[in-house]
């Protein structure tokens, strides 16, 4: 028994038929070829599969695709616009916030939601916000710096868009 659903992923609408038991991460990776989000733990702990569902960070291994029917999904593939890195991607690059990169897509999706809610988080707030994303390589220090770096960039950006000081 399958069920027809519709998912809009990074702005592209997909109509597809899925088994009710299919996890959102399976559908994204295996059916739609968005292989940016990764599977790390299957126990809802590691956060490597984090995507935005209607703008909120969720662990896509703990959501059935049928539950996401009609929703907007953003994956790491949707972060950059017109070939230009999102500030969080720039932050991770500049601060060496990644090593093997496996946790990074999920880490960045959680971090962008944090920065939406809290544009100027403290180190403690960043560490708390990343509680659901495990990294085995970096010891987290440069991830914290990467988020701080992105926060600074994002705070400067609107000023530039407004035409600066004058």
């Amino acid at each position: 028994m399958t069920r027809d659903i519709s998912l809009t992923v990074n702005g592209t609408e997909h109509e597809l038929s899925v088994e009710p038991r299919a996890l959102l991460i399976s559908v994204l990776r295996d059916e739609l070829d968005y292989t940016g989000p990764n599977v790390g733990c299957e126990s809802s702990m590691c956060g490597a599969c984090t995507v935005h569902l209607d703008g909120e960070a969720v662990k896509s291994c703990t959501v059935l695709a049928v539950q996401a029917d009609g929703c907007d999904v953003t994956t790491v593939e949707g972060l950059a616009t017109d070939g230009e890195f999102h500030p969080i991607q720039q932050g991770f690059q500049e601060e060496h916030g990644l090593q093997c990169g496996y946790c990074t897509p999920g880490m960045m999706m959680t971090a962008t939601e944090l920065l939406d809610r809290n544009p100027d988080p403290s180190e403690e707030e960043i560490r708390e916000a990343l509680e659901g994303n495990l990294c085995r390589c970096t010891g987290y220090q440069n991830i914290v710096r990467a988020v701080e770096n992105a926060a600074e960039k994002m705070q400067q950006e609107p000023a530039v868009a407004d035409g600066g000081g004058d």
């Binding site: 088994e19 038991r21 299919a22 399976s26 990776r29 295996d30 070829d33 968005y34 292989t35 940016g36 989000p37 990764n38 599977v39 790390g40 733990c41 299957e42 126990s43 702990m45 590691c46 490597a48 994956t75 790491v76 593939e77 972060l79 950059a80 890195f85 991607q89 991770f92 690059q93 500049e94 601060e95 060496h96 990644l98 090593q99 093997c100 990169g101 496996y102 946790c103 990074t104 897509p105 960045m108 180190e123 960043i126 560490r127 708390e128 990343l130 509680e131 994303n133 495990l134 990294c135 085995r136 390589c137 970096t138 010891g139 987290y140 220090q141 440069n142 991830i143 914290v144 710096r145």
Partner: protein
């Protein structure tokens, strides 16, 4: 290169475009690996999708030790979408997984890729399912019915060696895999006879589960028309996997390609040759269709080779003045159910040889018994033997300083090795070092004297503050091959590097190492660009594919920069030599009159008469005007076999406050001063230290594989086994000194494991210091600390 950083505030990265070509080596440039990893463009093994691909799963033993009476696969085979289910009975003589390091006394045991009539750990492979879809394969695995006759299980090495322990292998009497020793027993006994003080501790170094974020995976494809088999897999060493797999599945090595695509961390767990990847290759051959297997996290918990697992009794002989006179160590090492690829080397040559630490110890004796148990095979995990050694040494130093009433920093200083090279009592010769320098730098950063005063004041207020030091040493780039061979290695320990100029002047560098997060593409390009004097952007780096790279030993043991990097230096130097002769020929000068600087060859005293190396590359491929007897082309390969290990070192310190009511530990500060020789990319070095320390803190406070009496893993998921989170790891203050290694042309020493080696005992020493107790076991979970604190405050035994 070689500059020492100024403070503990961290390294600032730079854009490679902003770095002068001449300064590229030693610059903290941003990594070229990152764009693909940051956009989802990376290709991990599970991302690979091939036409006609099918999925494989593995039925694993429920019990840690049992006889297999029957495996009923009929229900699974009858399912729609299931292509085949096979067991050991269905394949010709299931291959045995080999052991790559032999010891004289080693009891070698069979390790079939599919268990035939007996399973020896929970997770041992019993049957393989091949199905059209991933979900169906998993469903079918659940429907395989296995009849077990359960046997008694043993999981701790000291228990396995007891008289009445269940026998893991019928051939291995008393579960002894080997007996091994190093050092001089008599001399050490004599030192103890003369000692004013003897201290001793029972130390457990618990079993750890590596937990690379990417589970192991493999995709195999087979072409029957030419018998070529390609395996894309999570590998730290594709060439070694190819060599071993060719034997295990009996497929000719030259028709087997092993390729590591992007690999999501390894920490040792992706060095070893497991049954699983071989089964994927077999399945692809059986069905002539691409086959994918991706471990679930549960499978990684049950089957990834685990690390550590030592039960140790250590004793130290001391003089009244605080001199270390002798050191005696007796260890029972857990090897798990079978001998994994490098398992015998880890608790022996990678452990016993490091027991002199940073100290001039006149007499050392260490004996190790390797024990078979009913846990997954135990092998190299980040640090591999060296963390165990450093832990024993530094815990004993902490205990010894207390015994003779000296400050632990001063006790260390008094006993440091001061002159190099230094021959230890446990076989190895330290290349270079300056141990006081890292100690002094760390004490400065800590403001040590003030800290000790604060500690006393805090105690008066009922607060428990502690300082723990760890003066670690490690050995990287195990070498030379001849020595390794004498010690039992079944492989050489060189590394290959091929540097190839293309006719347009661009360069590709191929190295037999295989990075999985360490940033080799960046650092190797820095090395080669520097040697050749070409733009960093003009150098491409290729790793991890047996079809592209001449040969290789892989990435582990912090060897890549020291051995792989040096191979690329050697090859680059060969290229420069050849290019110089071409330049001399075309500039009509004698080769000895040609000078090479920043990529330019010019005639001495006539800087206008010059050619850039890229131009010479073009000429070398045109081959219109070459010196006599010179072949066209410009590329060179080296197999670099170092003369010795390199010995990085450092001083790590933790400052903790312990709450005796709850057992909670707050790491207030963590200071790391490391000396890894010259640094090719200080930002990457710093990142390696951070990550290593986090794993070390993980071991000290949180991590540990725990089994029940029947060998059932009870920490079998991330819900129960703590992989540290961002909140668990403090912000670290890192700094470095630089004592270049004389062993290799880069003067580098290796950094991948330093933090993991240094951190556990820094934290344990700090907590013991805070509570004024001699010993707390790892992981120092809150309850354990609470009990220790209460035993201490009650004045009871601890």
């Amino acid at each position: 290169m070689g500059a020492e950083s100024e403070s503990g505030s961290g390294v600032q990265s730079v854009d490679p475009d902003d770095v002068d070509a001449a300064d590229i080596l030693g610059s903290a440039i941003e990594r070229r690996e990152d764009p693909a990893l940051l956009t989802g463009d990376a290709e991990y093994t599970d991302d690979i999708e091939l036409p006609g691909m099918v999925h494989m799963t593995i039925k694993r033993s429920r019990h840690a030790h049992a006889r297999i009476e029957n495996i009923d696969t009929s229900e699974a085979e009858a399912m729609d979408g299931v292509i085949e289910v096979f067991t050991a009975a269905d394949i010709e003589a299931p291959g045995n997984l080999p052991t790559g390091w032999l010891l004289d006394s080693l009891e070698q045991v069979d390790h079939p890729i599919l268990a035939e009539d007996r399973v020896r750990y929970q997770g041992d492979a019993l049957a393989v399912v091949v199905a059209e879809e991933r979900y169906i394969a998993h469903d079918a695995t659940d429907r395989i019915d296995v009849d077990y006759d359960r046997l008694g299980a043993v999981t701790e090495p000291s228990e396995a060696l007891a008289d009445d322990a269940p026998a893991v292998h019928d051939d291995a009497s008393g579960n002894v895999a080997f007996d091994w020793d190093i050092g001089d027993a008599e001399k050490t006994d004599a030192a103890f006879d003369d000692a004013d003080h003897v201290v001793d501790l029972d130390l457990e170094n618990q079993l750890l589960i590596p937990n690379a974020m990417e589970p192991r995976a493999a995709v195999a494809e087979y072409n029957p028309s030419n018998d070529e088999l390609a395996v894309h897999m999570t590998s730290q060493n594709p060439h070694l996997h190819r060599l071993l797999m060719s034997g295990v599945i009996d497929h000719p090595e030259h028709k087997l390609q092993v390729r590591a695509p992007d690999v999501g961390g390894g920490f040792g767990s992706k060095i070893h040759h497991y049954a699983d990847e071989a089964l994927v290759a077999l399945a692809a051959k059986r069905h002539e269709r691409p086959v994918k297997w991706t471990a679930t996290r549960t499978e990684t918990y049950l089957t990834d080779a685990q690390g550590r697992g030592h039960d140790t009794h250590a004793e130290m002989a001391l003089s009244d003045d605080g001199d270390i006179l002798g050191f005696r160590v007796d260890t029972a090492a857990n090897l798990g159910a079978y001998l994994s690829t490098f398992a015998p080397a880890v608790p022996t040559y990678l452990y016993g040889t490091l027991l002199s630490g940073q100290y001039d110890i006149p007499a050392i004796y260490c004996s190790v018994t390797g024990a078979f148990t009913n846990v997954p095979p135990v092998d190299a995990y980040r640090g591999a033997g060296r963390p165990e050694a450093s832990f024993v040494v530094e815990r004993m130093i902490h205990r010894a300083a207390k015994e003779v009433g000296m400050d632990p920093a001063e006790f260390r200083r008094r006993n440091f090795v001061e002159e190099f090279p230094y021959q230890t009592q446990v076989a190895v010769e330290y290349d270079s070092g300056d141990y006081e320098k890292t100690l002094d730098r760390a004490l400065d950063l800590l403001d040590y004297d003030e800290l000790r005063e604060r500690q006393e004041a805090a105690r008066a207020e009922g607060k428990y503050v502690g300082v723990g030091l760890s003066a670690y040493i490690e050995a990287c780039g195990l070498a030379p091959s001849e020595l390794a061979g004498e010690l039992g290695a079944q492989a050489g320990l060189w590394e290959s590097g091929l540097v190839r100029f293309h006719p347009s002047g661009k360069v590709t560098a191929y190295c037999g190492t295989s990075g999985h997060g360490q940033g080799h593409d960046t650092t190797y390009a820095q090395i080669v660009a520097n040697e050749l004097g070409v733009d960093y952007e003009d150098v491409e780096v290729v790793e991890g594919d047996t079809d592209e790279i001449p040969q290789g030993m892989g990435t582990y043991g912090s060897r890549s920069a020291a051995v792989g990097g040096s191979a690329l230096v050697k090859s680059s130097q060969k290229l420069v030599e050849k290019a110089k002769r071409i330049a001399a020929h075309q500039l009509e000068a004698a080769p000895e009159d040609i000078e090479f600087e920043n990529g330019d060859f010019h005639v001495a005293g006539a800087p206008d008469r010059s050619m850039h190396i890229a131009e010479i590359a073009t000429q070398a491929y045109l081959a219109h005007d070459m010196p006599d007897d010179m072949e066209p082309g410009l590329e060179a390969t080296s197999f670099y076999d170092p003369d010795n290990f390199v010995f990085p070192f450092g001083l790590h310190a933790a400052v903790v406050e312990v709450d005796p009511d709850t057992g909670e530990i707050d790491i207030e500060r963590y200071v790391a001063v490391d000396d890894v020789g010259n640094q090719i990319n200080p930002k990457i070095v710093e990142g390696q230290i951070h990550g290593g320390v986090a794993q070390g803190i993980g071991q000290a406070l949180y991590e540990g594989a725990e089994y029940d009496d029947n060998g059932q893993l009870v920490t079998g998921s991330m819900q129960d086994y703590t992989v540290p989170k961002a909140e668990h790891i403090p912000s670290m203050e890192t700094d470095s000194t630089c004592t270049p290694s004389p062993v290799n042309p880069l003067g580098v020493k290796g950094v991948g494991e330093a933090g993991t080696i240094a951190a556990p005992q820094a934290v344990v020493n700090a907590v013991c210091d805070a509570l004024d107790v001699d010993q707390i076991g790892m992981p120092m979970k809150a309850e354990r600390v609470w009990r220790a604190a209460n035993a201490a405050t009650d004045g009871g035994e601890h």
